[in-house]
Amino acid sequence: MQPIVEFQNICKEYPGVVANNNVSFKIIRQSIHAILGENGAGKSTLVKILYGHVKPDYGQIIINSDLATINSPTKAQSLGINMVFQHFSLFESLTVAENLILGMSEKISLNKLKSKSETICNKYGFNLNLNSPISSLSVGQRQSVEIVRSLLNNPKILIMDEPTSVLTPEEINKLFKIIKKLVSDGLTVIFISHKLDEIINLSDHVTIMRNGKVISNLTTKNEDPESLGYKMLGYKVTKTKQINNVNYSENVLSLSNLSSFSQDPFTTNLNKINLNLKKGQIFGIAGVAGNGQKELMEILLNENDFEFNGDIIFKNIKINKLSTFQRKSLSISYVTEQRLGHSAVPEMSLSENILLSMNHKSYFKKGDFINFDRINSYAKDVIKNFNVDTPSFNVKAGKLSGGNLQKFIIGREIMSEPELLILSQPTWGIDAGSEAFIKKSLIELSHRGVSIIIISHDLDELLEVCHNISVLYKGSLSKSLNVENIDITKLGKYMGGLFD
């Protein structure tokens, strides 16, 4: 069959990184073509080039056997290429209808838009209320808006950049059915992912990228997750098995009836959250983003005096009113979601970043002055013990790759010997090697009797590391499930809000 898209020798270099290095491959018409690779492998750059969002340094793209110069998204749309973005390109304060109109290249009346979008919604089973503002929609609904918006332009090629990263298992199944139907109706779908199971389940062909290069082009049905994973990484990842080492008689942290009552429509109010964390236990809090994770972290961290009811008891001390500083002094450590700008200051050196979170320890001070010898040697130890790839502790935090910085940040907290470690999205957007290392470090930490809470959207990560998992849905926390004999369908139902 004749290819619909052909990449020829695409090169794109950013300062310090070659994002695409001589990328060439073909995409067959009316198929699902997956592009597989780790974070930073160059997948997103490549499709952004196809969508006219990024200009390649060298190379060309052939569409329908014609050489195409795609220098803007408008041009891409006129060639029938549309894209569903990883971080949605929706306008929060505008309504669904307004967002749809903004995605249309042709002029259209509101009534015509309504009938057209209704046709699409009925055909593929989307459920949209055109008058609701985007800010009131769940993540899954937002994605529906984004997909419908692309389909309104009658595309020939639809690019989907990591579309499943924010969805519940049920929503993912629904999305896959929609994608298959779209392809049977004549569309070509380019599907970007780093999740092996999804690619096996969905795609017809797969292109594997590593460090900006194409490693191989495969027909999916000849592959299995292990073979794909090996080709994606170039090495085998060994998993550390979590062993049950929890002291169930000793409570470390109790949350009782935590509720919040913010009037801000951009926040999710928590609804009577109860949780008991034991010594040496790793407790996972799963759920789709925007279901109260941010607010729970606010309350646990207390940086902004976020108002709430209920009690937080840490080892028989009520810490409701204690500041972040005081909580840290009680040996609670935190790793927040945002690496640059919250966990670390990008313009400061690694050793200066040590001090930022260890300010409560007099060990690092000489009176009111900084004891540089001590923070430097602490930074050196973190770099050594946690395999941080950096020439020295004087390097600015912003210069490190996501994985290295995250190892440094988590190492910094672990080495301060906390009794409780609270992490939010600890392995979000980092390479598989660092991810495996961090998971291993957390498991080892729990074996030493440290209790850990992990708030994460990544269910696979929680299933691998945690003893127990609860799901946050619209501010309520489900019963906790024991990971050893966990029922995945039940977990999926919890994520969709069906608690028992």
């Binding site: 990024v54 998204p73 306008f91 929060e92 307004e98 109109i101 290249s105 801000d264």
Partner: protein, 289 residues
């Protein structure tokens, strides 16, 4: 209080508030697209002096209006080039524009200070100001270009990803804002007080800026707010007329005091600000290549 006094007060409020409406509605559209232009005061002064000088030299009101508007296009065009293409800090650039405008207008107008002219009837412009508010409101809420302006101000990266030209949209709104400010200046020096005097806009540019926030970026509220602000300013004469004995300085300070109170009131509620403020306001847009 007799009916004539009340009508008189209304009349004066109507006449004196119009420049606030012009400058305010221009700035509102600019800010809706995500650009903060603090140069209103400077733009108004240059618009006022250009209009005045042209009128003195040619005696033609049309030329006077035309060149006043051209001054606004040029100055706001420079501002747009600086903040959009060279990505300078919007606040610093806007302040520089104001300081520049104050100096330039004083220099240009030096020779013309005190020259008598015959003023234009302000009522035409009052009608136009109402029409402009209506049109801006219709444009922003009902038309596709207006929707694009809001989209660009809400999230410029998304707007770019969808294929809209963020820079061009912002050029348009900045220049519209510039034209409106110079129109406000023209009105002041030709209709309101037919004369030229250094710094004669007397801080109206700043009040117009506060007005946009006061109106939470909604055109009709801006109109209401302008008349409240204008009314406070006029109160001084009339309160003195009915015999309230307070120092004149107290009244001069009133509009600013009202501005501060309103700003404190509005920004005390973060939510209100978040829901109505354009999310990309004052954030420079950089194409990722």
């Amino acid at each position: 209080m007799n009916i004539e006094l009340v009508i008189g007060i209304f009349n004066i409020v109507l006449i004196s508030t119009t420049p606030l409406v012009f400058a305010g509605i221009g700035e509102l559209v600019t800010e809706k697209s995500g650009v903060l232009n603090l140069g209103l005061e400077g733009l108004m002064l240059v618009g006022a002096v250009t209009g005045f000088i042209t009128l003195v030299l040619t005696g033609n009101y049309f030329y006077s209006l035309f060149f006043s508007i051209i001054s606004g296009v040029i100055l706001s065009g420079i501002f747009a080039f600086l903040v959009l293409n060279l990505m300078t800090n919007q606040i610093a650039t806007g302040l520089a524009l104001t300081i520049f405008g104050i100096g330039l207008s004083a220099m240009l107008g030096k020779k013309f200070s005190g020259t008598p002219i015959e003023g234009l009837n302000p009522y035409y412009f009052i009608v136009i100001s109402f029409l402009l508010v209506f049109m801006a409101s219709y444009f922003l809420s009902k038309t596709k270009p207006g929707l694009i302006v809001r989209a660009v101000g809400e999230n410029h990266n998304s707007a770019y990803a969808l294929g809209y030209n963020v820079i061009k949209t912002r050029y348009m709104t900045i220049i519209f804002g510039g034209v409106m400010s110079s129109l406000a200046g023209f009105y002041i020096s030709i209709c309101y007080a037919p004369m030229w005097q250094e710094g004669m806009t007397a801080g109206r540019g700043w009040i117009a800026l506060a007005l946009v926030v006061f109106a939470t970026w909604k055109p009709w509220r801006l109109l209401v707010g302008a008349y409240i602000f204008g009314g406070v300013a006029i109160m001084q004469m009339n309160l003195q007329a009915i015999g309230v004995k307070l120092p004149g300085q107290f009244f001069n300070m009133m509009p600013y005091l009202a501005t501060i109170i309103v700003l404190v009131f509005i920004s005390s509620n973060k939510l209100r600000l978040k829901l109505s403020a354009p999310a990309s306001l004052n954030i420079p847009f950089e194409k990722n290549q």
